[in-house]
């Protein structure tokens, strides 16, 4: 029973993401989402008590989704630090291509509409799962002597800001080449920026 409620919630999240991406967050109403799910608006509220609650659950879902993928990379001992960077870039771009509404929501709604999240997701609370995996990646890279020991946010900003920027440019159709064709050069740039120059 509980299981099906959870999976229904995920279905709603996916539907809402699609609608938000197409029509915008503010202009999309709960009855519209309910209708797309073939459910009554009243029933919708059994799953999410408000649109803000839905927004919070969406961002947690995206964070968990990304975290699970990066965790698989983190837990692949055969990958070198540079290969891990390549894998992270790859899955990020893959999501941007295959499930664009997800990163769209993250970049255009979560990051740009902090008033929605002020109460519910102080700081990075709702995206902690994703941030944690990046921390694990950096910590491992420094421990192995591959990455320079520096401030976490300097490195995090460089990595994720870069990828977010590229996805944004891609979304605006500014990039002349397909997004995945940049993976190799971006991997190289991130690695060079973060790598430990002292290593033997």
């Amino acid at each position: 029973m509980r299981r099906s409620k959870e999976s229904k919630k995920i279905d709603i999240i996916k539907t809402a993401l699609r609608l938000f991406s197409k029509r915008g967050f503010y202009t999309t109403t709960i009855p519209e989402i309910a209708k797309a799910m073939s459910m009554s608006a009243g029933n919708f509220y059994n799953y999410f008590s408000s649109k803000e609650k839905l927004a919070e659950e969406i961002i947690r879902y995206i964070s968990e989704y990304l975290a699970t993928k990066i965790r698989t990379i983190n837990e692949s001992p055969h990958l070198s630090t540079k290969e891990k960077i390549r894998e992270i870039v790859h899955i990020y771009f893959q999501i941007a291509i295959e499930e664009p509404e997800m990163l769209d929501f993250f970049l255009r709604i979560y990051l740009s509409n902090r008033e929605i999240y002020k109460e519910r997701c102080q700081g990075i609370t709702c995206i902690m799962a994703f941030v944690t995996e990046l921390m694990i990646f950096f910590d491992d890279g420094v421990q192995k002597g591959d990455l320079r020991n520096q401030n976490f946010f300097s490195a995090f900003g460089l990595f994720m800001g870069y990828l977010g920027g590229m996805v944004f440019l891609n979304g605006e159709a500014i990039l002349p080449e397909p997004l995945e064709s940049y993976e190799e050069s971006i991997t190289e740039n991130i690695y060079r920026a973060l790598k430990n120059d002292d290593q033997a």
Binding site: G123, I124, T132, G141, V142, Q143, N149
Partner: protein, 293 residues
């Protein structure tokens, strides 16, 4: 009336810190009445050291051994390993008082062959120095006097003393030094001490406090009845640890702002998630100085 157990306190390569810490035990008089102390390095003793070590007819229930075992280091003309081994079987129980006697400690840093009674750091000795007496390790630099005193009393009462795999009494060393710290609320909410010299803030993230990684009860049984290092503002240096003193003191090693070592047996992922979330909340009560309005 119960017979008084006989106790002998001997030293290897030591600084006498355990003897002096023991002398801070507030109920020393009661303790001395409960035992028959044949020899203590500070207290008036009925027999001279030379008789204690050379007269094989003298036995004891408990040998307290302080200091590391160093073949080059003599007491009463005997090298400390010989001295110790003369009591193998002659003492029913041997208490390693302090980190030097337990694991080698500071004085084992100069010489690969200097060790504790059963261990050199975390490694059991290839050739055990003691095989017939029971050994109880009470690490600490120095050992906390209450811990030593209560173990003596438990031995006297024939109480079982469950030990962990490194021969330490679980009741004392199952804790981490972090437990009972007056700064623990700052640890929970990740309010880090910005500098030394403040009552407020946790010393784990910047000042190198090892309390969450160290087995001991310094914050549960206070030092000199009044305080502990972390409570006062001095980071825990992990002095009960087999690896002591091979740690970074006064400074927390970090990888990209992430502590290289995290609390014992906590997964890094769990620690980072919890602390990342805790850090995002600003709690005015914990941000201000205690005595401020």
């Amino acid at each position: 009336m119960m017979t008084k157990p006989k106790v002998i306190w001997l030293q290897g390569a030591s600084c006498n810190g355990n003897s002096h810490a023991f002398f801070n035990y507030p109920y020393l008089k009661t303790l001395l009445q409960a035992f028959d102390f044949l020899y203590h390095p500070l207290l008036p003793s009925p027999l001279p050291l030379a008789s204690i070590v050379n007269d094989y007819s003298i036995t004891c229930d408990i040998l307290i051994f302080e200091g590391s075992v160093d073949a080059k280091f003599n007491r009463a003309g005997l090298s400390s390993d010989t001295l110790l081994q003369r009591f193998d079987g002659r003492a029913k129980t041997i208490i390693a008082a302090g980190t030097c006697a337990s694991f080698g400690g500071i004085f084992s840093e100069n010489d690969q062959n200097t060790s504790g009674i059963l261990y050199r750091h975390e490694q059991p000795l290839n050739k055990p120095l003691i095989s017939q007496s029971d050994v109880i390790n009470l690490p600490g630099c120095p050992v906390h006097p209450h811990n030593l005193a209560t173990i003596l009393l438990a031995l006297k009462a024939n109480q079982p003393i469950p030990l962990d795999t490194m021969h330490r009494p679980k009741e004392i060393y199952a804790h981490t030094v972090h437990q009972g710290c007056s700064r623990s609320e700052y640890f929970e909410w990740k309010v880090d001490a910005k500098s030394f010299g403040h009552k407020e803030g946790c010393l784990f993230y910047e000042q190198g406090c090892r309390a969450p990684m160290t087995h001991g009860n310094c914050n549960l049984v206070l030092w000199n009845e009044v305080n502990s290092k972390p409570r006062a503002g001095i980071p825990c240096f992990g002095c009960t640890d087999p690896k002591f003193p091979n740690f970074s003191f006064f400074h927390t090693p970090k990888n990209m702002s992430i502590p290289a070592e995290i609390p014992l047996d906590v997964s890094k992922r769990a620690y980072l998630t919890i602390s990342g979330i805790a850090k995002t909340f600003s709690i005015p009560r914990l941000k201000k100085r205690l005595l401020d309005d």
